[in-house]
């Protein structure tokens, strides 16, 4: 089995401002994201040889990308893999280039969540006509918090305070990003005292419902410097789908996900990473809920199992900390237009590794990852990027 390491590079990216884009359709957002990526890479529509588009519910088939961009009769495939949908577009595009089939391809992800008229994810009913009728995102992820607090002996107060610090951190980072949906800071007290959505998760423990689109131009690593001086290389990409809905998995501990660990193992092994906490410069991870980010610290090898709280309390993952996480504000600040998120996260890794992250720029960024955890949850994807080959 070969590694994807240093076989392909991203040479251009775009990200439409995330938010309640009432005045924009999916098509408008796609055009803005993709044309920013074109410009960034110095290419145009006629340079794109194939494309992958990710959306969970805002469009169908490859034509949802072909139509707005008027891409002329090239291969376009729509992909969907729960919240890893954006990553899936990147992953398939990268593999197509790596096998030598194409030289320049486009990966785009988008979602229009604000046309449903309801709060929360407007993605439909669930997985079964009867059994899954009432599941909500916060309801499912709250199981993690209940069990994590119980397992590690955190009182309600301690548990809530731990995850609240993640909300404060991410909203601070988001206040520094002009494309974030939410650009205001929040205080610990605001987070702790917010109305409960699904106990123990309060309003600020949950990410927003948002519209957005993001795009990437991918080429062969050996061609990358023809497009720009600072291409970003794909070092590894791992994807794992759980074999059963965790709710029904005998013995599952609900304090972390083996699919996260599996996707991390795959990506780290391809990238040659032994100690992710020391080697990674930054990580943009799936903070759909604050508790999710807490267990991701442990699943991705940044904190020892059961001890993420110590790192949170020590400020390890802040912009100034040892390993900055969600430097752009994460899903907490950007919201979660599902198909777009994996590529939006990669957009921040890309900018940080190029040293173009403005007020959020971290020092000496060399290696970064983006991570999504999708579904009830049942799928995880991790992509590791670096700014130099080797």
């Amino acid at each position: 089995m070969e590694s994807i390491k240093d076989k392909v590079a991203i040479v251009g990216m775009g990200c439409r401002k995330f938010g309640e884009n009432w005045e924009q359709s999916s098509d408008d957002m796609i055009i803005e994201a993709v044309y920013e990526a074109y410009e960034d890479a110095g290419v145009g529509p006629n340079d794109i040889q194939a494309a992958w588009v990710g959306t969970i519910a805002s469009g169908a088939a490859g034509v949802c990308l072909a139509e707005p961009l008027k891409l002329p009769r090239i291969p376009i495939t729509r992909v969907e893999n729960f919240c890893a949908t954006g990553h899936e577009a990147l992953r398939n595009a990268a593999f197509a280039v790596a096998c030598g089939m194409y030289d320049v391809v486009l990966a785009c992800g988008f979602e229009k969540l604000k046309d449903t008229g309801v709060g929360g994810l407007g993605v439909g009913r669930g997985l079964h006509p009867v059994l899954e009728g009432r599941r909500t995102g916060p309801g499912t992820f709250a199981f993690i918090a209940t069990r994590y607090f119980y397992t590690y002996g955190l009182s309600r107060e301690e548990g809530k305070r731990t995850i609240a610090q993640i909300a404060v951190k991410n909203h601070h980072n988001g206040s520094l990003h002009p494309k974030a949906h939410f650009q205001r800071e929040v205080t610990l007290e605001q987070v702790m005292n917010a109305p409960i959505i699904a106990w123990p998760l309060g309003l600020f423990d949950c990410c927003g419902t948002t519209d957005g689109a993001a795009a990437a131009i991918i080429t062969r690593a050996d061609l990358a410097k023809k497009f720009r001086d600072d291409p970003i290389y794909l070092k590894g990409i791992g994807l794992a789908a759980n074999q059963i809905l965790p709710h029904f998995e005998p013995g599952f501990d609900w304090t972390g996900f083996e699919m996260n660990r599996s996707a991390a193992r795959q990506a780290y092994e391809q990238a040659g990473i032994k100690d992710p906490r020391k080697e990674m410069s930054l990580a943009i991870v799936h903070d759909c809920f604050t508790i999710t980010e807490l267990i991701i610290y442990e699943d991705l090898g940044f904190s020892p199992k059961g001890r993420a709280k110590e790192d949170v309390d020590a400020g390890t993952f802040t912009l100034e900390g040892e390993l900055p996480i969600n430097t752009d504000g994460g899903l907490k600040s950007f919201g979660h237009p599902i198909g777009a998120s994996g590529i939006r996260m990669t957009y921040e890794v890309y900018k940080q590794l190029q040293g173009k992250a403005g007020p959020r720029q971290i020092k000496d960024a060399r290696l970064g990852l983006s991570h999504t955890l999708g579904g009830p949850p049942q799928v995880a994807c991790i992509a590791v990027f670096g700014n130099s080959p080797g």
Binding site: L121, G124, G133, P138, W199, Q243, H247, P250, F252
Partner: protein, 480 residues
């Protein structure tokens, strides 16, 4: 002589003081409290609960039939008993029937079951009666009615009480009624209703029985007969027939309310809970005529196992917060719709395919590694074919979770999910003996839910959508 071989009952957890109705509407309160079925309960779920209680220690596959007696079937054209038979894990060739249309449907079902057994067409028939009638807001019925169920197993094999005789009258006086499309009970002028109906026809049937079988009033250890909405008339019937107050079975008007077709069967269960061998019991029920039966308790009464019956269910209760909760649970006011995505229609074919998993709560146990497991809904509810633990293929045996207790592994109170009883409490549970699954948690006090809490399964209605009542199982605290 055939008779009753087992009994069980169900009374919902929730009660309301009748003074709450006065708080809402003014007027005259009737004394006492009444039972309120939870928002996820109806006549089918209460009948299933009663039947489960009745079948404790009895293999449901040995029962030859199920008669569901009610005046509030959720369906006009779909058999309630066939839904219940799957939930109760009965045989496919069980005789199923709904008996409806009259407040004496419960006793009519008993008579029909008894005659079926006597005719040799079945060895045993389970009668499950339940009702959930609704009185229009601000009226007397709203206060007087109650919800509940009872189940009786009839057969010839070692009955706990033999049915020695019966007497029936058909009478077309209709004092209370509901026409097709009526939600609320209608009533004619109440003095006429009682004088020419209940107070005339019920004693006529009882007297007829006593005359036919040469029984005197004093021969009965207990007399069990329906109570009308004006509960004072119940005692008046006893006086007119010469029964002592001590002989009269409490109609539970002050604690439960009038439970329609389930009333006489519920009172009979209460009587059997106290009965001694040799006791003669009168059972009578009124509704467009009347049925009366003579029962004699046998020595077998002493071998009836643990039942929740009436006594334990009655003692296990929680008062609802207020009248508005009742209106919401019964769907009597239109509330703002929850701002959640539109539900896609229920797929009859998908639900039918998974009927054993959904209605019967069947999972599977891997014959290779021994792990009990429940189907992930992601698979569409069809039987598991590949083991999640050891990946053995098609090496499963049926495994029923409905009768297993469990412990809460994790939970949440979800305020975002739509429900008539927010928040939606959802539990991830581990079954005793193995198996992990997720269920809504009903009849719970949100402040008292914790990890490790023991729970049991209860058959409930998940939701009604586009003409389809979707039933499934929920967890609840160990009831009693």
């Amino acid at each position: 002589m055939p008779g009753i071989t087992s009994y069980g009952a169900y009374i919902p957890l929730h009660r309301v003081e009748r003074s709450e109705f006065r708080r809402a509407w003014g007027g005259f309160p009737i004394p006492g409290e009444r039972v309120i079925a939870n928002f996820d309960e109806d006549s089918i779920t209460m009948a299933v609960e009663s039947a489960i209680d009745c079948l404790r220690g009895i293999d449901p596959k040995t029962v030859d039939g199920l008669f569901f007696a009610t005046t509030t079937s959720p369906y006009k054209e779909r058999l309630g008993a066939s839904i219940m038979a799957v939930a109760l894990d009965m045989r496919r060739d069980a005789l199923t029937m709904d008996i409806s249309g009259s407040l004496r449907a419960g006793t009519t079902a008993i008579a029909t079951a008894l005659n079926t057994v006597k005719a040799g067409a079945a060895k045993s028939i389970l009668v499950a009666a339940a009702d959930c009638r609704i009185g229009a807001p601000s009226g007397d019925f709203e206060q007087a009615l109650g919800d509940g169920g009872a189940a009786l197993l009839l057969g010839g094999d070692q009955p706990i009480a033999t049915i020695e005789g019966s007497y029936s009258i058909s009478d077309d006086f209709s004092g209370v009624w509901r026409a097709d499309g009526d939600v609320f009970v209608r009533s004619w002028e109440d003095r006429m209703v009682l004088d020419e109906g209940y107070s005339a026809v019920l004693p006529e049937a009882i007297s007829g029985l006593m005359k036919d079988y040469n029984i005197k009033a004093g021969d009965f250890a207990k007399v069990v007969y329906d109570c009308p909405p004006d509960f004072r008339r119940h005692a008046r019937v006893a006086r007119s027939l010469g029964f002592d107050a001590a002989q009269v079975q409490d109609p539970m008007f002050m604690t439960v309310g009038i439970t329609g077709a389930a009333m006489a069967p519920m009172m009979l269960v209460a009587a059997l809970e106290e009965a001694k061998p040799g006791d003669k019991i009168l059972l009578a029920s009124y509704g467009n005529g009347a049925d009366a039966f003579l029962l004699e308790v046998t020595e077998e009464i002493n071998r009836v196992g643990e039942r929740r019956g009436i006594k334990k269910h009655l003692a296990s209760k929680r008062m609802i917060a207020n009248y508005e909760t009742y209106l919401r649970w019964r769907g009597l006011i239109t509330l703002e719709a929850a701002r959640r995505p539109e539900k896609s229609p229920t797929s009859i074919s998908a639900v039918w395919r998974a009927r054993k998993q959904i209605l019967g709560l069947y999972g599977a146990r891997c014959k290779s590694c021994g792990t009990p497991q429940y189907t992930s809904p992601a698979l569409g509810g069809v039987p598991i074919r590949i083991c999640v633990v050891c990946q053995a293929k098609d090496q499963f045996e049926d495994y029923r979770f409905a009768d297993k207790r469990a412990n809460i592994f994790s939970f949440t109170h979800d305020n975002l999910a739509a429900s008539p009883d927010p928040p939606v409490t959802i539990t991830v549970v581990d079954f005793e003996g193995g198996g992990r699954a997720v269920f809504d948690f009903t009849d719970r006090d949100p402040d008292k839910v914790e990890v490790g809490m023991p729970v049991e399964m209860t058959f409930r209605k998940l939701f009604f959508d586009r003409g389809i009542h979707n039933y499934y199982w929920k967890t609840r605290p160990i009831r009693c």
